[in-house]
Symmetry: C2
Subunit: 162 residues, 2 copies
DNA sequence: GATGAAACACCTAAGCC
DNA sequence: GGCTTAGGTGTTTCATC
C-alpha cells in the first residue's frame, strides 16, 4: 500500500496539491499536460487523479459559467427565520425545489437558514422571496442584495451527503 | 453570422443548454458522449462548446473538491463593517490576500462587506477573523458559523472582472 | 450557417518493468 | 513511478443540406 504523507489529517502530498491546482484552473487539461507541469508522466498523473477520486477528495469536474451571460444578473442572500423547531430535512426539501438557490446552510445566531441565490432580475428575486416566505415553516425573511462581487473563488460543488 | 435564438437577453439555444447541463455534471465527459445525449455528433458538440467559450458563457472547467477531505472543516460568513467610506478596490485588495476567502461581496444594508470563507478548524477561523479585524479599514466584524450544508450547487467560479 | 463522416494526431487506460 | 501498446478521443478538413 502506498504511504500517505497526508496522514489522517487529510493533508495532501505536494504533487497531489499541484495536480489539483492544475485541474482547478483547467479540468479538461490532459494528463500529459498536467504531468509536464508537475514533472510526472501521464500515467502517473492519471493514477493520482484516480486515487484522489477514490478517496473522495475529487468529487467530480464541472464547468464554470458566467451567470450574467446566461441572464442571471441578480445575486442575493436571504436569511430565513423559521417557526418553532423545523427539522433541517424539511428545510432542505423545501429549499431544494428552488432552482435559484445556490446554497443553503443552517447557521449559528438568530437566523435559522442562510440562503445564497441568483435570480434573473429584481422582479424575479422578489417573486422568489415571496415564495420562500409562503413556505409553511418560514416565519419571516431578511434579504441582502449583492452590489458587486469583489472576490469569487472555486468552492465545493458537490451535493452534501444526506 | 449565426442566428442567435437567445437574442440579446442572454438566453440560450436548447441544445447549448443541454450541453451545459452535461458539462456541469461531468466537465471531462467526451464530446461524443455529450453528443449521444443531445443527439449531435462530437464535432458539432465541440464547435458549440468552443463558441460558448468565445462568447464568455463558459469561463472554464474546474474540479469539484471535498473541503473536508482536504482538512477544511469549518465554514463561516463574516460581515465587515468598514470605517468611513472605504473604496471597493481597497476592500478587494485586502480581502484577496486571505486564501481562506471563497467570496467577498459589497451588499445592501448595514453591512459593508459580506465574506464567505473556509478554515481548517475553529482555531484557524478565530485567527482569520482576528486578522480581518486588524485591517485598517475594518471597524468591526460579525460572524456566522455554518452548522450544516443543506444545499450546495455549482456557481460561478471565475474571478470578477476588474 | 450548421451538420456529419472521415482522417490524423493525441490521449487514456491497462498492461508491463 | 516510468514505459509500452491498444483502443478511444480531440481536432481539423471536407462534402452535404
Amino acid at each position: 500500500m502506498r504511504t500517505d504523507p497526508a496522514g489522517p489529517t487529510g493533508l495532501l502530498d505536494p504533487l497531489d496539491e499541484a495536480i489539483l491546482r492544475e485541474l482547478a484552473v483547467d479540468a479538461r487539461a490532459s494528463f500529459a499536460d498536467i504531468g509536464s507541469v508537475v514533472s510526472l508522466s501521464a500515467p502517473a498523473v492519471k493514477r493520482r487523479v484516480d486515487r484522489l477520486r477514490e478517496r473522495g477528495v475529487i468529487r467530480g469536474f464541472t464547468v464554470r459559467l458566467d451567470p450574467a451571460a446566461l441572464g442571471w444578473e441578480t445575486e442575493a442572500y436571504v436569511e430565513l427565520f423559521c417557526s418553532g423547531s423545523t427539522s433541517p430535512v424539511v428545510m432542505r426539501t423545501a429549499v431544494e425545489r428552488f432552482p435559484e438557490v445556490i446554497s443553503a446552510s443552517t447557521v449559528t445566531g438568530d437566523v435559522d437558514l442562510l440562503i445564497h441565490l441568483r435570480a434573473r432580475d429584481m422582479r424575479h428575486l422578489e417573486r422568489v422571496i415571496e415564495r420562500l416566505n409562503a413556505e409553511a415553516f418560514v416565519a419571516r425573511t431578511r434579504s441582502t442584495i449583492v452590489l458587486s462581487a469583489l472576490v469569487r473563488r472555486p468552492d465545493v460543488q458537490g451535493s452534501p451527503e444526506p
